[in-house]
Symmetry: C2
């Protein structure tokens, strides 16, 4: 799957992943109205609205980008109907041949991580049958419980030819509280230690061909200096970079997340794309044109990053 991601990045010339993180305030009024008319102001109504909203965006951008990243929390907040909308979104994006990164940030003790791995990337045994639960291509994984919480994911990835992105240095303001702490003796921050683990796991998880492992890392665009260090420490690791646009970074700030080959990173934008019509710059599209506004915002982002990479 990492090789599919890379070939799609090359084909689209867009190392971009669109974060499908719908909230009710992003969904155009006319979509909410229609959904509430059918299902009432219920969780089902909300789920119908975010699914319609997502579908419009996916249809508008699927030829421009290699991948999407639905943030499961935004669906989980609507309970079971929300989870159905998540599943529908994953399935639809896969139909459109997009690589789907489930931003689930799961992680638990070994046997429990195995259940998450099976549920999101693999197949669960039910009697004599093996069945897929959510079936993303990649998921994000939280490393706080150590390697026996991560390894079950690696096992399933190997079997299913899928991949993970491990949280190393997250994009939020307080990420440093634990992640930047310097370890005694090593004189290194915690995130470097996790980065080294990711590189080590990755060395055992190279697909048959290609130079990137299917064990990636999450490093926030908001921390360019740490990104530079980690890029060097993990030469065969693909970096998923959240925090473009709304959270801060621009293309020029992000070039050092990439390797010399122009690969090795994929930049996420969520609300900057999916709620583009709410920004002044794209206001002319109006609510009805929200999907076209998203398409325009993707093209703008593609240009910004391509220029930055050419210009370095």
């Amino acid at each position: 799957m990492i090789n599919k991601l890379i070939s799609k990045i090359q084909k689209t010339n867009a190392p971009i992943v669109v974060g499908l993180d719908p909230t009710m305030k992003f969904v155009p009024e006319y979509i909410k109205k229609a959904a509430f008319a059918e299902y009432g102001e219920t969780l089902e109504g909300a789920a119908a609205a975010i699914w319609q909203y997502n579908k419009g965006i996916v249809d508008a951008i699927c030829d421009l980008v290699p991948a999407v990243k639905p943030q499961i929390a935004m669906y989980e907040q609507f309970g079971v109907p929300g989870m159905k909308a998540f599943q529908k979104t994953v399935d639809y994006c896969k139909e459109k041949d997009l690589v789907v990164i489930g931003d689930v940030k799961r992680g638990d003790i070994g046997s429990t991580s195995e259940a998450y791995a099976v549920g999101h990337l693999g197949k669960v045994q039910v009697g004599g049958s093996r069945l897929a639960g959510f079936n993303e291509d990649f998921v994000t994984v939280n490393p706080y419980l150590g390697s026996d919480g991560v390894k079950p994911f690696l096992k399933v990835c190997k079997e299913e030819r899928k991949g993970i992105f491990v949280l190393v240095k997250t994009s939020n303001p307080s990420s440093g509280e634990l992640q930047d702490r310097i370890m005694a003796g090593e004189e290194k921050p915690l995130y470097e230690l996790v980065g080294q683990q990711v590189a080590d796991w990755g060395a055992e998880c190279m697909p048959g061909s290609g130079t990137y492992s299917y064990v990636g890392a999450v490093v926030g665009a908001t921390y360019p200096e740490q990104g530079r260090i980690l890029r060097k420490m993990m030469p065969h690791t693909f970096i998923l970079v959240p925090g473009y646009g709304a959270q801060g970074g621009k293309g020029a700030d992000l070039v050092h997340f990439f390797n010399e080959d122009g690969l090795g990173a994929i930049i996420n934008s969520s609300r900057g794309i999916i709620a583009a019509y709410q920004q002044e710059q794209y206001a002319r599209y109006g609510e009805q044109g929200y999907a076209e506004a998203s398409r325009a915002a993707v093209m703008e982002m593609q240009k910004d990053i391509a220029q930055a990479l050419e210009g370095r």
Copy 2:
């Protein structure tokens, strides 16, 4: 909700939480057979089986214990039908007046943690309505992203009078890889730093009456020495202690997780209770008596812990 948990612990004399972590191999054949006859070997069939299995256990133990802790991964592995079984389990346990601790180990950047908090403990805004998604009483939270990933949970807890348990020192073998690292300058391991944060958050989160905050901690029974240190550092923190029985600990090893008042800890057992009928000690109950076997195992555990607390 922390005060409800405490009063139920006192009433039952059982600082015990039963982990509802169903896997297909725990579910008696006759239950699987009936579920597959109705739904086939499908995710729906698996979900029906685990729900029936859970219901039997809950009916058998609900008068003996204050709380249950469904591990969401065990449901999530069965996709959307599994999530429905999770919700049904949560709702049923609340009907039986059990305190429900959703073992979800969520944690993300601020705005996303808010969605998790709302989805599991609070109410989400849909048009003019505010609706509950999964509606547990407590959830477990992963602290790797720092305080802006935890604070949205605190906000919702305050509004809804609910609570959280933050992962501090987990029960698994590799938990030390990050959690035991010594921080330069402070000469303290990472888990103590997180423990201190939990105590600090808790100081702002005391319910109107009572001596325990609604910000708890998870500390594995498998690490008694760390438990002793953390117990002292966090006097007003309730500790959720996984790892009894199957993972190792016995009552006598766990007394130092409790305060002098005999409170301050709640011990989890999962497979030791829910799959008791598969152990030699309870084999006489047979498959058909799996729920009664669970009841017997709870009574045994209650006695073990009560004796240990009396004997200290």
